[in-house]
C-alpha cells in the first residue's frame, strides 16, 4: 500500500489541476478543448496503466477499516453484516446483488444493504446517512460509499450472477425495466432518452447504450468508480441520483425502491459481464 500512496501523492495535484482547468474551460464558447481533453486522457491512461494507481483504492481501504471499526450508538462493527452469503462474508457477495433479503423484507443492492446493516447493527440513524448521501465535487466519497467501494472490489473479476428467481426480485426487475423507459418531468426524459442508442454523445461526453446488454456488460461492472473530473469515487446510487437531477426530477433517495429497481435492471442487463470495481471514469 505504500507504493499506492506514493503514486497517488504524485498524481493528485495533477488531477486537481486538470479538473479545475476543465471547470474553467466549461463555459460558453469553450475554446478547442483538445489540450484539456488530451491532458485528461493522458492522465486517465497513466492511471489505467498501473491498476493500483486508481485513487479509489484509498477509499476502498477506508471502507474496509470502517467495516471493521466499532461505530455508532451500539459500538458495533459491520463484521456480522449479511450481504447475502451469510454474516460477515464479503468476498463474491457484490456479484450476487441485488437480491431479496428476508430479514429486511425487501430487495436490496449493496449500498442499500450496507445502509440497512449500519442501522440494524450499529444503530446509526439512516436519515443521517441519506440526508446528504453523496459527496459534492472535490469531496471524498461518504463513508457508506467507501464501504460499498470496498465490498464491490471484493468481487472484482467475478461475473455478475444475481439470480432474480425470487418473486420479489422478479417484481423489482420488472419495475426497473418500466422505470428505465418511463418519460417524466418537464423535459419528457427517460433513461432511454440518453442511453437508448449506440455511439451517442451529450456535449462531448460519450453515452453508454445501456439498453444493449453487450454495452451494459462492458460498463456497469465499473461502478463504484473514481471520476477524474470530480476527483472522487461515485457509486451507482450516486450516478442514478445525478441522472435524475439532470432529468429535472427530485433528489433520488438512497436505498429507495426506485434506485434498487434501476440498479437491478442495469445488473440484469450486465449479466455475464465482470465486476471491475473500482473503475476509473472521465
Amino acid at each position: 500500500m505504500t507504493r499506492l500512496r506514493r503514486i497517488i501523492q504524485r498524481t493528485m495535484p495533477a488531477a486537481a489541476l486538470l479538473a479545475s482547468a476543465a471547470v474553467l474551460a466549461h463555459g460558453p464558447h469553450a475554446a478547442e478543448p483538445d489540450p484539456i481533453e488530451r491532458g485528461l486522457e493522458q492522465f486517465r491512461a497513466m492511471l489505467k496503466a498501473d491498476p493500483w494507481a486508481n485513487p479509489a483504492f484509498l477509499d476502498a481501504e477506508r471502507g474496509e477499516a470502517l467495516w471493521k471499526e466499532r461505530r455508532g450508538p451500539r459500538k458495533a462493527s459491520l463484521e456480522r453484516c449479511d450481504l447475502g452469503k451469510g454474516p460477515g462474508i464479503v468476498d463474491g457477495a457484490f456479484a450476487e446483488l441485488p437480491r431479496y433479503f428476508a430479514d429486511a423484507g425487501r430487495v436490496m443492492d449493496a449500498e442499500t444493504r450496507i445502509l440497512w446493516c449500519m442501522q440494524e447493527l450499529q444503530g446509526i440513524d439512516p436519515a443521517s446517512l441519506t440526508e446528504r448521501p453523496h459527496p459534492a465535487s472535490q469531496e471524498p466519497v461518504k463513508d457508506l460509499g467507501a464501504i460499498a467501494t470496498w465490498v464491490a472490489s471484493r468481487s472484482a473479476g467475478q461475473a455478475f450472477r444475481a439470480a432474480f428467481d425470487h418473486p420479489r426480485e422478479k417484481a423489482t426487475l420488472a419495475l426497473g425495466a418500466a422505470l428505465f423507459e418511463r418519460r417524466m418531468g418537464p423535459f419528457d426524459f427517460s433513461c432511454l432518452s440518453c442511453h437508448g442508442a449506440k455511439d451517442k454523445r451529450i456535449r462531448r461526453q460519450e453515452l453508454a447504450h445501456l439498453a444493449d446488454p453487450a454495452e451494459a456488460r462492458r460498463v456497469v461492472g465499473e461502478w463504484p468508480a473514481y471520476r477524474v473530473s470530480a476527483t472522487h469515487v461515485m457509486t451507482l446510487q450516486h450516478r442514478l441520483y445525478d441522472c435524475f437531477w439532470q432529468m429535472r426530477l427530485p433528489p433520488l433517495k438512497l436505498g429507495s425502491e426506485v434506485s434498487v429497481a434501476l440498479t437491478a435492471y442495469l445488473v440484469k442487463q450486465a449479466q455475464g459481464g465482470m465486476v471491475a470495481a473500482p473503475g476509473l471514469k472521465r
Binding site: L175, A178, A197, Q205, R248
Partner: protein
C-alpha cells in the same frame, strides 16, 4: 351509488390500459404501483415537483407504444400537441440570434439545484445538436443543425415551422426525444423566437460558411419534419 360504480369501472379500465406485461419476466407492473414507488423515492417534495412524476396523456401514449406509435395514434397525438402551441402575438417568429446563442449554450433551469429564479432558463441545445461550427462541444443525440438557415435558403416563411418544432416537438414528430420547450414551460415565447433566429438568421454563426480547410462542414440542417432518432 351508480356514479361511484361507473367511476370505479372507468378507473379499473384505466388501470388495465396502463398495465403492461413484460413478457420476459412475466410480471405485471401497473401505473399505480410505479407512482407509489416513485412517491416513496422522493419523500417530502412539493406538489409542483410531485406533478413531474406523472406523465401526461402524450407521454403515457409514448410509453405504451415504446415511442413508436402506429400512424393513427401518432396523427392524433400530433394534432393534440399542435393545438397546444402558443404563437407570438405579432406573427413575428424571429428574435435576436445573439440571445439565442446564450439560450442554446445554457442548460440552466428546473433542476433541484437551480434555485436562482431570476436567471433565465436555457434550452441546452448543444447537449444534443451541432450548431455553430465554432462550438466543438456538441452532442449527437439530435441531428446536426449546422448551416440550418443556409440549407433552408433563409426562407422567413420557414421560421414558423422551426418555431413550432421548438415550442412543441411532439406536434411535428410523435414521441420525439426532444423536450416540448414551449408547451412544458421550459422556455418563453421570446426565448424560442431567439432560438429560431439563431438557426435562421444569415448573420448567425450557425450559418457561417465554413473555412475550406475545415473538414466535413458543408452539410447540416436537415429539413423538418425529419425522422427523429427517437430512442
Amino acid at each position: 351509488m351508480r356514479g361511484t360504480l361507473v367511476l370505479t369501472l372507468v378507473g379499473l379500465g384505466f388501470a388495465a390500459a396502463a398495465t403492461f406485461v413484460l413478457a420476459e419476466q412475466n410480471t405485471m407492473v401497473n401505473e399505480r404501483q410505479i407512482l407509489r414507488t416513485l412517491r416513496m423515492a422522493f419523500p417530502s417534495i412539493s406538489p409542483e415537483w410531485r406533478t413531474r412524476l406523472t406523465p401526461d396523456a402524450t407521454m403515457a401514449t409514448c410509453a405504451q407504444w415504446h415511442n413508436h406509435p402506429p400512424q393513427d395514434v401518432a396523427g392524433a397525438l400530433k394534432r393534440r400537441e399542435a393545438a397546444r402551441i402558443v404563437f407570438p402575438g405579432n406573427g413575428e417568429f424571429m428574435g435576436d440570434w445573439r440571445r439565442g446563442e446564450k439560450i442554446a449554450q445554457s442548460g440552466y433551469g428546473l433542476r433541484f439545484t437551480d434555485t436562482d429564479t431570476k436567471r433565465p432558463r436555457g434550452g441546452n441545445c448543444y447537449a444534443c445538436h451541432e450548431l455553430s461550427p465554432d462550438e466543438v462541444s456538441f452532442g449527437t443525440l439530435g441531428v446536426s443543425l449546422k448551416g440550418f438557415g443556409r440549407t433552408h435558403k433563409f426562407d422567413t416563411g420557414y421560421a414558423r415551422v422551426v418555431y413550432e418544432k421548438i415550442f412543441n416537438s411532439q406536434a411535428v414528430v410523435a414521441c420525439s426525444t426532444m423536450p416540448r420547450f414551449g408547451t412544458n414551460g421550459i422556455l418563453t415565447v421570446e426565448q424560442i423566437k431567439d432560438l429560431v433566429a439563431y438557426l435562421m438568421d444569415p448573420a448567425s454563426p450557425v450559418n457561417k460558411v465554413p473555412e475550406p480547410t475545415r473538414k466535413g462542414t458543408t452539410g447540416g440542417g436537415q429539413r423538418l419534419p425529419a425522422p427523429h432518432p427517437g430512442r
